[in-house]
Symmetry: C2
Subunit: 428 residues, 2 copies
């Protein structure tokens, strides 16, 4: 971990820079995959699974029987934990339900807004070294709370052509309608275009590697929307002398173990905390199974000390972390001044992993500075708002002249006529 | 207007098809513009304004003095109308403010969600034959209600290098911070990348032609988000015998006058209404200033009659209109079954132009079937949600084992450690 003391503002651009994957360099390959799936359908999906995932799949659909068997095999203790997490996540997302907005903007002019579920949603669950069933919870629960009619899930098969039992268990528990053993670009292409078995969806959710990310961005050119562009995960810890170096080190490492491109930053006004955390990181790192991955991430990581509180706050806002842990004496005041972050974890007993799994908040969050304009996945991500209006005859008599004047000024005579022709019948 | 009676479901795909602009064919030109603006900054913006808009601009920034003079020149009657519209639009968008969501998901585990404004937003106001100041209202008002810190507006200059007085008046009235005489792809590139005078924004809003639409989609590859992909405007009217053919004709024509690619459809269960509306359209069309534009749009327009109510409803949902006017005896029952539409206008005295200008709802809406997954512009379009959590020591003692079990099952030992290391201090 490199250390910086009171870095000058002109250094901040470099200090907040993420390793950016190049969209342009990956796009041609992703387009090829989309074109093949468009032309050859499911056969193309299977061909790419063989080519990229090195496994030949006869039937990409997970059967009811496979699910029943998987549910059987998941240890009971794990089921209990998953159900506890599910309850918390459901509670937090149900609390996000909003009543319709209804306003009589002026007498006789009623306007309202109602949120309706997005009908068909596709959830992408990445594969890799471990079965990320927690992401199933984070995407399927709000989809179900929103009332989405069809929930489709794709995840890459392992070398035996199977999905992990716990993925199937969790998907089934959360009411996913269909599960496919397909990953990568070909999964995104499949959900975007539809194949013989994979339904074409309206919106695609979920994290993934750089190919999946580019595929999701390409999908937006095919009548599909996406939750957000995703990138390598990030954690920033802000601590003063009230922070606990042992805890902070464990948080930094929990992020570092995700992948060699994970972003890990400690910002502090206390050089002793920085030094002590350094030591604890080294100590804890030794005992990690994923030590070599974490070590690589730590090589790009930073400890930044600021004497000036305002500079510290400005830097934290400038960085815009996906995950922000705040261990400060004046935590409330500080947090109220944070403008850009994905999810904020406050105090010494709030590790990021609580939000990753079980506290209730969503762990699918914007990275790479996209916190400036994107929300993390939440209930609204699965809804769309429709507006309605009804105007009475008297309402139109009052509002009509305003519309007529504006339409005339915009040179849109037929827009004016639509009002005038009605007013004429009301005044005669 | 072509007429269809009880079209078979296998015809629906064709009947709901929009004229789709090809992203691929326009992309190379749009990329060239982005690259030039990235390299040469504002000079490139000026060069393209000369090339595409045929006007040489020395200074693209609208000065305070220009605004003062414009405000002076706008007729008082129009000012009064705009202010009335502003009040209604503000009232409806203020009603969309939501309180923070706060939940103790389990004892000692507090989770909350708060919406914060997107800091810098860019509003694109198209030019063309008329000054679309109503779009300024529809974008700047919710931006201001949301609390966006910097509101930037770009609109193409006329042949004298100027913006219409009423655009400047409305922008000033709504609290826009800076206004630029720049349109088209170069405006989108300018707000995406920033130039000497145009600030780089976080999110870009507003309608535009196909070049602007492709430019907005390209912008999403440069750390900018957009409101939605936009296309030619659409209106569907659903009427039974309670509809008024004169009113319906005026609504269809108000949409048709927008442009030759406007989509206009009448769906009815009453052939007499269809026939009568045909006549009224022909009659009203003769008197329109924009007759030739409207005529072109009508050439692609359709009247569709269904005997079967369920078929009619299904077709309306399948089409997913940007604007949907409902004049039916059972209007409430019907509207409650609509799943896909942008904005719905109910009853004989609710012309679409009310929502275009002054009733309070937003007129920036998804087209081309994107109502399936996008909301129209609303207050939330200018906000992002951040989640927060704070766990007490006791809360972690209770929830910790759940997190540990799940992290272990995902093979993420450091995630588990972040909990274990805290629990150890609490239990000792």
């Amino acid at each position: 971990m490199e250390r910086f003391i009171n870095p000058d503002r002109n250094q901040w651009q470099a200090l907040t820079q993420r390793a950016s994957a190049s969209y342009a360099s990956l796009e041609p390959l992703v387009k090829t995959v989309f074109n093949a799936v468009e032309k050859e359908g499911e056969q193309a999906v299977k061909n790419y699974t063989l080519e990229f995932d090195k496994v030949e799949i006869q039937n990409i659909v997970v059967s009811k029987q496979e699910i029943v068997q998987a549910v059987d095999r998941v240890p009971n203790e794990l089921k209990v934990a998953i159900k506890r997490a599910k309850e918390n996540i459901m509670r937090f997302h149900e609390a996000q339900i909003t009543a319709p907005v209804e306003v009589e903007t002026q007498p006789g002019v009623s306007c309202w807004q109602k949120k309706l579920p997005i009908e068909k949603v596709g959830l992408y669950i990445p594969g890799g070294s471990a079965p990320l069933f927690s992401t199933v919870l984070m995407l399927a629960i709000p989809a179900k709370v929103a009332g989405c009619q069809e929930i489709v899930l794709c995840s890459p098969p392992d070398s035996n052509g199977l999905l992990a039992d716990v993925i199937l268990y969790t998907a089934n528990l959360c009411g996913v309608d269909s599960i496919f053993k397909v990953g990568g670009m070909q999964a995104i292409a499949g959900m975007t275009l539809g194949t013989e078995s994979i339904p074409k969806v309206d919106k695609i959710f979920g994290p993934g590697n750089q190919f999946v990310t580019v595929a999701k961005q390409l999908a937006t050119q095919y009548q599909v929307s996406i939750d957000m562009p995703a990138g390598p995960s990030e954690l920033m810890v802000v601590a003063d002398k009230t922070g606990n170096p042992d805890f902070i080190a464990s948080d930094l490492l929990s992020q570092a173990e995700h992948g060699p491109d994970s972003q890990v930053i400690l910002v502090t006004n206390d050089i002793e905390i920085a030094d002590a955390t350094f030591e604890k990181v080294a100590e804890q790192l030794e005992k990690l199974e994923r030590k070599s991955t974490a070590q690589k991430a730590l090589n790009n990581s930073k400890v930044i000390c600021f004497d000036n509180d305002q500079e510290l706050l400005d830097f934290v806002n400038r960085y815009g972390a996906e995950h922000l842990i705040v261990c400060l004496d004046n935590e409330t005041e500080f947090v109220n001044q944070i403008k850009h972050a994905g999810s904020i974890f406050i105090g010494n007993y709030t590790p990021e992993s609580a939000g990753d799994y079980a506290s209730g908040t969503n762990h699918t969050l914007p990275t790479n500075g996209y916190v400036r304009q994107y929300s993390g996945v939440n209930l609204d991500s699965f809804l769309k708002a429709i507006t309605y209006q009804k105007i009475t005859a008297d309402g139109l008599i009052d509002l009509g002249p305003v519309i007529e004047a504006m339409a005339t000024a915009e040179g849109l005579q037929a827009h004016k006529n639509a009002v005038s022709i009605r007013l004429k019948t009301l005044k005669s």
